[in-house]
Symmetry: C2
Subunit: 221 residues, 2 copies
Amino acid sequence: MKHTTPSDIERTSMEIISAELEARGIDPPPENAPIVRRVIHATADFDYARSLTFTPCAVERFTALLKTGIPIVTDTNMAKAGISSAALSRWGNEVFCFMSDPETARAAADGKTTRASVSMQLAARRFPNALFVIGNAPTALMALSALAAQGYRPAGIVGVPVGFVNVVESKEETLKLCQSLEIPGIFAMGRKGGSTVAAAICNALLYTASDMLDPSRRGWH
Amino acid sequence: MKHTTPSDIERTSMEIISAELEARGIDPPPENAPIVRRVIHATADFDYARSLTFTPCAVERFTALLKTGIPIVTDTNMAKAGISSAALSRWGNEVFCFMSDPETARAAADGKTTRASVSMQLAARRFPNALFVIGNAPTALMALSALAAQGYRPAGIVGVPVGFVNVVESKEETLKLCQSLEIPGIFAMGRKGGSTVAAAICNALLYTASDMLDPSRRGWH
């Protein structure tokens, strides 16, 4: 194992991923390819090349929104921690997670709702316009659907919860919601997903919006 | 999708995972099963049932160490954010990540080493005894190997970096190191891993050490 810089490693990794996608006969549309590659880079799991689903012009619409400095809301502090500070600083985006907010704990204390659900309601009250990046809780996606039925409009939804109960259905329903309301959405269909996948998609969108897809432009050290 | 509490969802998920492991003819040793199940719960990826590798009595040794209140060092703030505060509080363990430490940035500024590597050296200087939970950087594992060659002894290593360059080799080498020095180790062999996997293993060990494997004992709300 010879010493290489992180940006060399990332470049080599992306070349390996591109070659293996080609060998598998998978050829994502050019605008989606950086997102697909970054998720595979974060998971080493090529299943995402088939499960990632984009609403029309999703990447173009997400990047245009990011360039307005729109706030980003996550459903876990872990996804929040995984989003690149350097990339966020380019357009002044801030990331918020209300899972540890005292109001969230209070409202979920009776057990009739989940903290993830309450944290989405808090975010919707606080931000008339925000991108939602959901990597863990299907109940967060379900809360966004309920808010949409009441007239709230998330600016965009990255929906990649992981798991075995209500996860597949929550992603299918929220994808349909995005399609019918013309909200840009990116979803990992099926059971797989997670906070690393959510952060990877968000980072790929930020890098695309900031011309930082080339790792040497990100000032690794 | 009916409303269920997070602890109901977790219990149902674990039942589904156990049933699907059985259907695949995979039967992990009882002491390792809670760790295997929790990683699958965090990823929905059954590949981990085969790739997770444990040194002899690893779970017993890790849980005994956790009960002493030993500090935990991660290679990402993301893995740190994913480790359960409730579980940490049981034995007073604290989690440290030195990736954003100013000294790490300074020492890695010349590009001759990585921040992950420097952050391990900092941790080794600070803690004569610590558990290392590595979910991202193969260079962090390589730094631990180099420190071991100089006489430093990590108390235990969870080694689950993800990726395409040096990852497979770094895990194989560190597993061998653990075997020869009798350091308890848990590794995800192959390319797959990540911060969610690292946090899931650490949480499963903490839950085992704290009799919190039953989610209703963790006071979800």
